[in-house]
Subunit: 321 residues, 6 copies
Amino acid sequence: MKIADTPPLVTPATDSSLWPLHQIVADLRTIRSQWRTSQQRLPEPSSRELPSRDVLTTIAHALRGALFPLRLGPADLRPASEDFYVGHTLDSALNALLGQVKLELNFAGRTRPDDAGTQLDQQARDIVRTFATGLPEIRRLLDSDVEAAYLGDPAARSVDEILLCYPGIIAIIHHRLAHALYVLGVPLLARIVAELAHAETGIDIHPGARIGRGFFIDHGTGVVIGETAVIGERVRLYQAVTLGAKRFDTDASGALHKGLPRHPTVGDDVVIYAGATILGRITIGHGSAIGGNVWLTRSVPPGSIITQASLRQQTQDEATT
Amino acid sequence: MKIADTPPLVTPATDSSLWPLHQIVADLRTIRSQWRTSQQRLPEPSSRELPSRDVLTTIAHALRGALFPLRLGPADLRPASEDFYVGHTLDSALNALLGQVKLELNFAGRTRPDDAGTQLDQQARDIVRTFATGLPEIRRLLDSDVEAAYLGDPAARSVDEILLCYPGIIAIIHHRLAHALYVLGVPLLARIVAELAHAETGIDIHPGARIGRGFFIDHGTGVVIGETAVIGERVRLYQAVTLGAKRFDTDASGALHKGLPRHPTVGDDVVIYAGATILGRITIGHGSAIGGNVWLTRSVPPGSIITQASLRQQTQDEATT
Amino acid sequence: MKIADTPPLVTPATDSSLWPLHQIVADLRTIRSQWRTSQQRLPEPSSRELPSRDVLTTIAHALRGALFPLRLGPADLRPASEDFYVGHTLDSALNALLGQVKLELNFAGRTRPDDAGTQLDQQARDIVRTFATGLPEIRRLLDSDVEAAYLGDPAARSVDEILLCYPGIIAIIHHRLAHALYVLGVPLLARIVAELAHAETGIDIHPGARIGRGFFIDHGTGVVIGETAVIGERVRLYQAVTLGAKRFDTDASGALHKGLPRHPTVGDDVVIYAGATILGRITIGHGSAIGGNVWLTRSVPPGSIITQASLRQQTQDEATT
Amino acid sequence: MKIADTPPLVTPATDSSLWPLHQIVADLRTIRSQWRTSQQRLPEPSSRELPSRDVLTTIAHALRGALFPLRLGPADLRPASEDFYVGHTLDSALNALLGQVKLELNFAGRTRPDDAGTQLDQQARDIVRTFATGLPEIRRLLDSDVEAAYLGDPAARSVDEILLCYPGIIAIIHHRLAHALYVLGVPLLARIVAELAHAETGIDIHPGARIGRGFFIDHGTGVVIGETAVIGERVRLYQAVTLGAKRFDTDASGALHKGLPRHPTVGDDVVIYAGATILGRITIGHGSAIGGNVWLTRSVPPGSIITQASLRQQTQDEATT
Amino acid sequence: MKIADTPPLVTPATDSSLWPLHQIVADLRTIRSQWRTSQQRLPEPSSRELPSRDVLTTIAHALRGALFPLRLGPADLRPASEDFYVGHTLDSALNALLGQVKLELNFAGRTRPDDAGTQLDQQARDIVRTFATGLPEIRRLLDSDVEAAYLGDPAARSVDEILLCYPGIIAIIHHRLAHALYVLGVPLLARIVAELAHAETGIDIHPGARIGRGFFIDHGTGVVIGETAVIGERVRLYQAVTLGAKRFDTDASGALHKGLPRHPTVGDDVVIYAGATILGRITIGHGSAIGGNVWLTRSVPPGSIITQASLRQQTQDEATT
Amino acid sequence: MKIADTPPLVTPATDSSLWPLHQIVADLRTIRSQWRTSQQRLPEPSSRELPSRDVLTTIAHALRGALFPLRLGPADLRPASEDFYVGHTLDSALNALLGQVKLELNFAGRTRPDDAGTQLDQQARDIVRTFATGLPEIRRLLDSDVEAAYLGDPAARSVDEILLCYPGIIAIIHHRLAHALYVLGVPLLARIVAELAHAETGIDIHPGARIGRGFFIDHGTGVVIGETAVIGERVRLYQAVTLGAKRFDTDASGALHKGLPRHPTVGDDVVIYAGATILGRITIGHGSAIGGNVWLTRSVPPGSIITQASLRQQTQDEATT
């Protein structure tokens, strides 16, 4: 069939008088095409390439329900059918996750010529199986987080309200799931799961961060925890705390090596109050307390108590030395 | 009952080859069981114990619509059927709320052996009736808040866009509903209603806070207002303001008494600019203005104008004295 | 009509025993009526007056899908039907938008006696047509933003994950759509579209702000950009940055003129780190870097590097001069 | 822009390998175009021309609920909010109906050049207002039908189960609504409402049929009642009864005049048993009983009892005469 | 209370100009009120009185899925989670059923003054428990029906398509569930479940009918089986078969005793072809075949083959005798 | 594996007191297991085996919309985006159909050991591609059916209402789609598509039937058309017509050969009136008219007019011959 024989879909004369729909569609296609070219992509993929945020949303909600059925599951769930709900919900969620894992592996594998489809399929199944068998351990860790929340907040009346009310718990549930995916080699899915919690809670934890048991974030809006941060056990954070990279000082070479440790290491039993900013691969010694709004770019020994005032004093001391 | 006596749910031979579903379900059950034991719960409750966040979400949206039908109600609502919509929506929402109130009362009453079920039912009905008859007064308060928002923001073009656009209004609607529930003795429901607004707006107001008429929060992300805060009339706040507890200084005893006044008291006609942090049971005198990013832990008299610069000066003055 | 003449909706004798439903409905009506009176409105409008946030939500999601079909469109979309999906989705969304534009124009025109309905209809169609034909250019701008995000974040592994994971991209998509509506004369719709992104991402950009190509916000929670801000090309922002008005200093006259330039102008290739607050109609020269938590209220020349330390030094220098 | 400049939407080279999607779409368009031409239609209408079955489905369900709120309304409706539900539901349904009436009037008016749009709008409003004010009378008629069902069926235990269980009641509700629309001049909407009941119950009543009070159809599947049928009061029908036109005998001229009386007239208190076929403009005298499977094409006097046996006898008598 | 005392809902002055909404609502209320009075009901019930067809629809679909999970359950169900799905679905459905059973018992018990609420609750629980424990036996019976369908239809290619395609199977699933409810004393729920199948399939089986194993209805539209019919094992029916009451002959007394046996008894291994009408408490001997369109009102011995011709012959024989 | 070795799912001690949920689930599993054994199936399949009726429902509705976009498509579709809607909808539907075709082929292929998965995949793609490219021709045939309906019914006011109101059109749309699937070798999907129309219209056409252009069924409830029926052009049928197999006479051998021609052949321009029953592989000559309720088991020549009376006469003639 010659192109000239093809009746065009663009039919200006009969087009709606309201807006030039066909022209807009064509223009958008042209721009998409230019984008693909500029990104050195094939002109048009033969099937969907990327995971779906909507599907991940469904999966994440199902996993939340399966982990805490009577708290985060459906309103009409009775204890007698708890196991049934968990089993059915888990299986659906894991199946859907398997599909998304395949999408990410296929997408990542586009440039690896030696990867056959079946190998990727097997890899995807291995990832989901490992993830699935790790869920009980994740629930155990989350129980320690719930307990820490109860102990850490004077306003909490019972351990039961934590799961229903505390955004910090939603954030850590998503993080522990996302971190498991990150470790298993599907960082894009991990990131989406993390961002779903970010949108819901204002707490932004990169799935790469390693966080010990008994972790609690109170209020939480504005918290940012970077990819290579390492956090010990029983650590407590308040809103607007940043555990970030000291990127400003390292703009010399221009080319930032991805994956290098560049975020803080926080010891056990540390408390970091609201608005504190801790930057760079520094160490906060165990048992320390970092005061509100503190700006910290160097390591502190165990048991330190750092406030804005103490920092000012220290700066003056250094200046006068 | 010994655990060994329980026939396991696991049936390995027929299990799916993709993942050991029965084993995971059994493991999750074991961990839930251990959690209940560690929390000194009965091994398995006979029915659902806790309110449902999903149900509360539906209730809160219905109440928003019933309070402002032509702004927050359904898109096809006509003024002629406004009352009908309000009546039908309210009745459904109150009925659903009654069910949730019963759940919270039953749950809270587990350890009170003298409470009979019928007494709780009567108490639940009283709570919802009082809440319901208070809704007109809440609407009246919210009208004052809407007006304050219009007066307070130079970007607002008309009073009508406030309800459609301003997250601060969503936050205060939820707060006034949540506070009513808090006062009536269902703090868990109150907290859930508050957290729904927190998730939607990034504004975190504890339902215990007492807030006067004409309250306005602009932008709002990151605002935190504590349980025992008391706020006067016509107060205006900007994003990232904290009215918190000065917890850092009081870690001596370790055991924090719950419910003690520990958050600021803010007088009438106070403005607090973005990022200001005000901690402890201090008083901000009426008519004061607190500048952006100010860190304040002591009371200020009426009419004060506090900025970062004025605070620095004061600190230096104190140091040189 | 006297209020006493109105037969009440209340029918106490047959009312439910649970709560006085008719009384509450009547009270709410009275208060709505008082509000209308206090706002000098007609006692009851004959039809819906204002746009609907729910409808705008649907429109915004449809436009997101039409702009990035294989990333933000439905999970089962195949490349082969990309154009079809775009065309069908766009037409539905534009039609719905046309209805909302008419609502806003009618509402704004209530006080303009010379505006006939047909004139408003024509105006609405012009607005939507112009908006529609501008969508390809918006997509082109957004492509530059996606590329900037990839270049700007060391944690980004591929350009593909940007649209799926980065809240900053959602914020800028909404902003570019909202800004187009703002310029076309429907500021209320623009504001709603902007606030939908604010709720989802914690990033609050007023639709009036003018933002150049290659814009990127990382993490983003707590960012506030004011109505008259002007931002150059390839600008990068981090969480909790404020580009605000220096309102605190200008409380002399009391009456703030709306629409006057009162937010910063940011040059090309500027980076502003987390928590920086930049207030007033000042200029940040191109190529500058503003450090974390910096509080800046005066202009800086091109190529400036501003940190908390440099500012302190400068203040001391000035003090000692 | 010249057509030649327009990039065609058909792009064979990049088309999906699964099926020639663009070609199929183009072929379907060609056939739709040929159909329009063959029906002497304009090549492409500028907007939707016809009512929507989906919208009518929603309207019909809403009207069912508004007529019998505690039986056919939502499951959680309480008596206390019955009026509110009715008012809100009615108003929504009538508004939607108004839109559909306009569509039908516009469509029917295409060939009447003298009809202005505003005149049609006024006509549509008149139709819906008349329909709306007639609803109470329709409810009163339906109450007589419900009572007839209870009296007529030995298996009915209480009047309450009629509305919940009897398909004949659904059919007569739809018919009485459809007949009102038919009389008001929107026969297409009337027909759709009737067909919705046909699909649900297997009972096919043309909206033109005139049916008296106290009408009851038991079981009902396969009943057909023609456009010009006239049925008295307290008539009872069983499944598979046909009140049809004697079309078979009148094929001489070929051109059937539409609207002429061609279906039976049935007197008061008639019972027609299952499978009876009554054809042509004949009269069944009041108080008659027509037996199962009877085939009747001539009038019978009041009080007749017609069975297959009696008919056979009559035929034989006639034959022997 | 006199009607005149009731303040009307109507507020003419503020009513919509499109239709007198308040007046219509008031008229409908008046008619509902008159209906209640004529039915000797209390003027207004304090809560919902009757079961909900919508809720029963959900329950019936859930039970269908639980009985045949991989055929009638959700499309994404995997065999590995079959039991989990069954358990969770069953528990939800039984809980919802419990609520509906209570509604019917309360409703039926209105006139029984000695029934306390708690007694009804216990009765409801007993009914649902007995129903629940009978489900496996119902599934076993249904398996015999599926097998009969496969054996009975030459067009069936495999036993697997029966559940997916055959309306007769849907009808018998609903019947066996409905019959169990009927026997347990909730005939209204039973009837609703039966009518749901009637609407879906055109097959109308009264829940009181007793039907043996291996029952199959082919095509099915128009089949009617009465309340006291008794059907043996391995019986096969075709479309439009009626097993009805010979009501026409018994109109002498006028007062029909409800519940008396008045429908046919059909022996084992009987086939009844399309359109056959069998009326009255007669017996069809086992192994008989009843031809299409046969009209039968007297018993036939085992092994009979009845056709229209044989009946005509018999009639003539009788006439000539 | 012996059954005794399988650890049971039942955990009596912790079971709900309301009903023995675990026991019921276990019993249902046992019965499913017995059923599989009795059907000589593998004990548990590794994945879903059969197509889903729900998915087919979605596909059929999408295809209806794609074939008649402005009549059966969404209510808000504008002519300007007709092609876009068609393309997007078709692609989704065909993709979903591809999945269902694979399920049927896999299922049918279980016993064919030489079929590899990839071969089935290719076969599935071929089937869907052929089906897809045949859709324009199906639309063309359906146009002839719509025209026939308009010409055949004196109550039809315009050709436009046919698609909106006439169940016969729904039935023939489904049939032409189902027949295409049947011919392409997926008879189970074909049957499901046909049964969806049966449930909606009461018209039961086996997908194997071959039906010429210009086919029209009026009213339709109770029509049955068998698998091997052949129907010419411009044929018209009324409700309750059966074109069936004369099965009753052929019960000698017992084993019925599936697929043999056993239903009538109907010539062009034949009219068959309501309730007529035509059985066996007989021929109705073109241009014939078959009267209501006629029972016909032998062929009739072209131009025949058959009524109950003429048949009686004929029978008597034969009897007297």
